[in-house]
Symmetry: none
Subunit: 218 residues, 4 copies
DNA sequence: GATGAATGAGCCTTCATTCAT
DNA sequence: GATGAATGAAGGCTCATTCAT
């Protein structure tokens, strides 16, 4: 990105490879969605944000819908890759995996105000629902089944008894809800505090591991 | 609504009081937001949904923004009144109050797919944030401080020790997140299951009162 | 039209009934097709020709295609009505009917440079062929079968022997070809001379009736 | 064309002589005009049809207008050369010359659906009239004066009395009209039948030569 | 009050043309 | 010669808003 940015600031006329321009335009789309909202995200505004002509956006993406769906796929895949690699890097024990999961959701690379706002645009706009289903449901199902399996392992391997499906759902919606706070509040709390909030929730369900005495206690 | 509906079906030309027409148009706005999303909610579509003429919407609301902000205020106030009266009707003890609170959030009158979708439109659309702040922040602050006070009373009066602010936040964002599930899933679970989910969350924090053995156990 | 013209020249703001505005816009479309050709006939140009805003064209016709097809239907029906009433007004004998037919094709109301040019736009543009088929083939088939029947009657009732189908086709394409001359030549001959040309063609096939000695001789 | 086709199928990158590339692009332009019509004939579509890159069209023709006018000149000259060599190959007597003329108009090389459609695009499009005048009027005048002279010779040398100018015009517009039938009908008659039609027209004017008993009778 | 014709700003998209590579 | 990225004018269409009736 840094190269693309530098490029757009200095000249903007030089030719760039297809991939580099598309990445640049996806960045501009995320920024525009965050700043203007879905309804006011126009091709012209995206082009202006990128410092390019509006014709170029169509040259690379053909339609507005393709630009938006590509952006959504980009966000969705980046998010999946983030928590996947976090899980791989963490110890295999269920509590460690859940801890890595929660930390990944509030990773500074993923949990930026811009990206959260862009997510919010897609979530809120009824017309994007088919698009969302088409491009994100696989990732979302994967996410849900992964955390459900981990909650089940907390019961099987660590002696907890809460309903795994519902507990997993709570952990997921708390994360989403905290994201919504971060993106919509005029003066939101810090990412750290959001992580602390989901942590006390995990502690409520799994006190021996996430509570003050637990090894994973904040 | 029944009166308004009857009206629009039979004649649509009879003069109606200011208030009745406005209510009719707000209903139509909610329905349109839910069906089309924010970006495709046009004055014409609202008028068509209401079975009224194009110009009449402007006659009653002057601008699109006023129509939308009035609709938002309507939703926000209806919601506040719902949980307020639920609290008043419930026993004054903190656990009963919290239980009433949670039940009110999934009351069939409030928690309809249409209204949830309309909420989602306002939440997701960055451009509505100033409008949301202006019209809803008072209600939202009231909601937050009420539930925070109740969580504090759970500590003070019933011997729990969780952080009241964060616990209240968890209960709020779980509710919001479950709403989002209900509005966006193609085949969402039932309202009952959503209530059960927030309930096990409350049980995790307040096991003696919301857990299986508690008097309020589902 | 006179009222509409007067209207558009003086004010252009007064409201007009749906039908009157649509007629005015169809006139403007014909004029634009004649002046600019199909490819440069834009909604904006039609609106400018009519002295109205471009939004109004969409208000009345929704799409450019509907505007053009309505215009085509208008031309096609006007033409059919013209020759039909000419046939009705003429004596029933086959030569008189054919004579009336030919005269109708060069009637000053039908055979104006503007309308001929508009016809030419539809004929020449491959993309309008489906539209033409849909809206004009019935009228065209009616035209063809009528003149074929008359040519057959010339054989049956007046002792000629030429192939009725082919003769009818010659009369039709001569008319069309003369129209093309009138619309495309920089200095075309007069309508009278066009009529004289088709007449000597009829005389070649039916000399006793259309020739110099015939009662219908020019 | 075969060479150009082979070229574009195999490699498309090999350097080709200026003339060969231009011929290839003219063929592609004719094909595009026939398939898409004038209004939708774009540089990109021509390039795609030719299997070449976008920029190459501009490299060879500079502007769209030059591409189109070159194509028109190509068609016009090819047509003139066709009937000229037909006249040269035919006996010098006037009836033979006229017969050769008519046959040349429906020669399989000239009278293809694609070329007729391309002609139609130029005829119908008012904006091309200046271009047509500039590039084709000489050929057209030559055509007209040639056939008028032949009709005059039919009177002078073979005892007919019809008006030579008007008869020549009839023969010309019948040909043009038959072409229009061939290009626009969904299920047109065969080229043979078109030739038969113009033949009976000639027979009507010159029965002793083109009629059933005439030496040139079909 | 109520209707719907009328306006014009703004959007998405197409496309001729230019030009760096 | 040849490619394809890049530009910007222009077109079709939508829609909030105004206003005569």
């Amino acid at each position: 990105m840094s190269e693309a940015e530098q490029e757009s600031r200095s000249e903007g006329r030089r030719k760039l490879s297809r991939g580099a321009r598309q990445a640049q335009l996806i960045e501009a789309t995320i920024a525009t969605l965050a700043k203007q909202g879905y309804a006011r995200t126009t091709m012209g505004e995206v082009a202006r944000t990128a410092g390019l002509s509006h014709g170029l956006v169509n040259f690379h993406f053909e339609t507005k819908e393709k630009l938006l769906s590509t952006t959504l796929v980009y966000l969705s895949d980046e998010y999946r890759e983030s928590w996947q690699s976090a899980l791989e890097a963490a110890p295999p024990d269920a509590p460690d995996q859940i801890a890595a999961f929660l930390r990944a959701d509030f990773d500074p690379k993923i949990c930026t105000p811009e990206k959260l706002s862009a997510w919010g645009s897609f979530w809120g706009e009824a017309q994007t629902r088919p698009m969302y289903q088409e491009h994100c449901s696989a990732n979302d199902l994967y996410y849900t089944s992964t955390i459900e399996a981990l909650c089940q392992r907390m019961n099987d391997e660590h002696g907890y008894t809460s309903d795994a499906i519902l507990t997993a759902r709570v952990l997921r919606v708390v994360t989403e809800g905290l994201w919504r706070d971060l993106m919509s509040m005029t003066e939101p709390y810090e990412r750290d505090e959001a992580l602390a909030t989901v942590w006390i929730c995990a502690a409520a369900f799994y006190p021996r591991h996430f509570g003050p005495q637990g090894l994973l206690g904040a």
